[in-house]
């Protein structure tokens, strides 16, 4: 019986998490203005405490990208960092009041690592969403 209850808890919380991420991904799109085209993907994770979410992506030279980072019901809850392949820090929105979006002008193509975590002074758990758009 305990296993059943545990499974139920996990299943229902998971469904709730998906629902939370879905609505957040929708509202985060407001930061990708008409000048930008989304890459068609929403990068997301449910985070707790100090957990860090990460993914790698290629940014192509000669393009301008917009990163939008959202968690919770207000802007500024998600801290994100961008590193190059040698782990040099290229940018963090932490230095700019956790700005919910930022633009990047890319001179040469590069693979970057994107890391995100919750600003624990504002949120201790929640869905994290990052959306990337490129300028038309």
């Amino acid at each position: 019986m305990n296993k059943v209850i545990f499974t139920l808890i996990l299943s229902i919380i998971s469904v709730a998490g998906f629902s939370q991420c879905d609505s957040l991904a929708g509202s985060c799109e407001k930061h990708i203005s008409q000048k930008y085209i989304s890459d068609g993907q929403a990068y997301r994770a449910l985070l707790t405490g100090q957990e860090v979410a990460e993914f790698k992506t290629t940014l192509f030279g000669g393009n301008t990208y917009r990163f939008a980072a959202c968690s919770g019901e207000s802007d500024g809850n998600l801290v994100f960092r961008i590193y190059d392949q040698d782990k040099n820090l290229l940018f963090t929105n932490k230095e700019y009041s956790n700005a919910p979006y930022w633009d990047f002008v890319i001179e040469n193509t590069m693979v970057v690592s994107v890391e995100a975590n919750l600003d624990q002074t504002r949120l201790s758990s929640g869905c994290a969403v990052i959306i990337i758009g490129f300028k038309k």
Binding site: G17, D39, Q41, E51, G72, F91, N108, T109, Q120, L123
Partner: protein, 296 residues
């Protein structure tokens, strides 16, 4: 029977938890014990891979725009056969061909081919409908896309929103595998178009050479699926990866410049990747082999 009160009590707790976690995020002052991870893997260091093994693939729109800028003329024969839109039986094939038709739509839109765009939007809708994705995409978005099919900018933006919605729906329903296969189809089709343009345009050739990371991510996706039906495709992708491994790459870090007022950072690091015409031909042949498997 004696367990019933405990079970009911537990269910009450569960429902309370769900209402709490759906309605609002937990404020920083509470001690969270919610370890739900949305299907993500959490390592000992507390690092979460977004959506498990998240893959980030460049939008087919980006390559389509570059192909258009290369002044290589539009070639309708490069598009996937419209008649095949209702030919595929498995979910995997449908997902990959949804990506293929989506990339076709991006290619067509860049060359302002209104009627053709309409036909390929129908094909996208048909395959998306069979994957039960269409029912979950905002009807207004679909009708706006349909009404603006002759407007290049609108098609690029709205089709991107369409695929964004499809991606969200599939991931919400724990079909991250299908969401990944849509990306695979779109990526293969966009390289298929670009390969032709790359024969005469160095910028396009470089852009194909820069797809190493995307190729590796998509290969990992197929490997992780562990689907015997995808074995042939996986082998071809591994071969493609091996080709990419041979391209000489250089990188040197340069300190970025940030304009805080404009919320813009200029990334000025230098990088190069080289691919000669012979290597392009090898990549192109492998892409055609992969595409044949997907569309057959």
């Amino acid at each position: 029977m004696s367990l019933r009160p405990t079970f009911i009590g537990s269910m009450f707790l569960v429902v309370s938890l769900v209402v709490f976690s759906t309605g609002c995020e937990q404020p920083a002052s509470t001690n969270s014990t919610n370890n739900a991870t949305d299907g993500n893997s959490v390592s000992g260091s507390g690092t979460v891979k977004l959506d498990g093994e998240i893959i980030s693939i460049p939008s087919p729109n980006q390559l389509a725009i570059l192909v258009k800028q290369s002044n290589v003329p539009f070639r309708e024969e490069q598009l996937h056969d419209l008649k095949k839109a209702d030919y595929y039986l498995s979910e995997q094939k449908k997902a990959m061909n949804l990506g293929i038709y989506g990339a076709d739509l991006a290619y067509i839109a860049n060359f302002d081919k209104g009627q053709l765009a309409n036909d390929y939007f129908d094909a996208v809708g048909k395959v998306a409908g069979e994957l039960e994705v269409l029912d979950h995409i905002d009807g207004k978005l679909v009708s706006r896309l349909s009404n603006n099919i002759s407007n290049r900018d609108s098609v690029l933006r709205l089709s991107s929103q369409f695929f964004h919605s499809a991606d969200r729906y599939l991931k919400n329903n724990k079909r991250t595998d299908l969401a990944g296969l849509v990306l695979l189809g779109g990526w293969v089709e966009s390289i298929h178009f670009a390969s032709e343009a790359a024969k005469t345009n160095e910028d396009v050739r470089r852009r194909i050479a820069e797809q190493k990371h995307a190729c590796a991510s998509l290969t990992n996706l197929l490997k992780n699926l562990g689907d015997p039906a995808m074995e042939g495709l996986l082998e071809q992708m591994k071969e493609l990866n091996a080709l990419y491994a041979d391209f000489p790459v250089t990188y040197s870090y340069s300190k970025p410049i940030t304009d805080a007022k404009e919320k813009t950072t200029y990334i000025t690091s230098k990088s190069t990747v080289e691919m000669d015409l012979k290597q392009l031909e090898a990549v192109s042949n492998r892409i055609e082999a992969i595409r044949s498997i997907i569309i057959q």
